[in-house]
Symmetry: C2
Subunit: 145 residues, 2 copies
């Protein structure tokens, strides 16, 4: 992503433009999977950017609050994972064998939520789904069909 776009995001959020924020957003935008706070911390160090881990956490918090990135809390993962917010609703499939996380850009719940809205006292405003099972490789390796 162009630096100027990142700066605009930070500005729109009313945050100060610090090199750390630009770097973290940039890094998450380029990452193709989910990253933990310490993954991010390490990647910054690899790029010769020294930044205290607590500042990484504080930065991720701020960026999450402002919907620039998403915090993902998966079952059994002790640590939170982060992704750049591409404004595209999605869910995850997690392999029970190798823990690979695949993304699904499809959602089976739209109609269901409308039904609940019509028939229940509970107003659903959002949801979270995780699918568990076996990825292609593990199915082959473990002979699961």
């Amino acid at each position: 992503m162009k630096k100027t776009n990142i700066l605009k995001k930070i500005e729109n959020a009313g945050l100060k433009k610090t090199k750390y924020r630009v770097n973290i957003i940039d890094l998450l935008e380029k990452a193709d999977g989910l990253l933990s706070a310490s993954d991010i911390h390490q990647l910054l160090i690899d790029n010769d950017i020294q930044m205290d881990l607590s500042t990484v956490y504080r930065t991720l918090e701020k960026l999450t609050e402002n919907n620039i990135i998403n915090r993902i809390e998966l079952e059994k993962e002790k640590q939170s994972l982060y992704e750049y917010n591409r404004e595209k609703h999605h869910h995850f499939m997690i392999c029970k064998s190798c823990n690979k996380i695949e993304t699904i850009y499809d959602c089976p719940l739209t109609k269901y939520e409308e039904d609940i809205k019509a028939h229940s006292d509970f107003l659903i405003t959002g949801h979270k789904i995780e699918f568990y099972g076996y990825c292609k490789n593990c199915r082959k390796r473990l002979k699961i069909n």
Copy 2:
């Protein structure tokens, strides 16, 4: 639940029958909501049953492994919650305002999972859904429609 049923569950799992296990299962079976490890620990103390918290954790672990109880890990809850396993597939609706947890004994995903099974390399064997929104009381209180 009758004590004999609990004992049978413990026996079927190949576990030793200790008073602690019987008590924890009994307690979860009677509970109407989800309980945390320390909730359970406290309830035991209230019933004059002294049991080390680490033993509570080890017991919950064993009972979960053997599907006698379920461990629930909800987004944003730092602690795991536990429920008696009534062998009835269900999901949760969590109020964003008061955090009340309501159970849904209905699942919109059966067909979707079959579709994925037919068209994807990923074999889904299970899933987890949480719905977020506002419960009846909070909708009224906060005037959300």
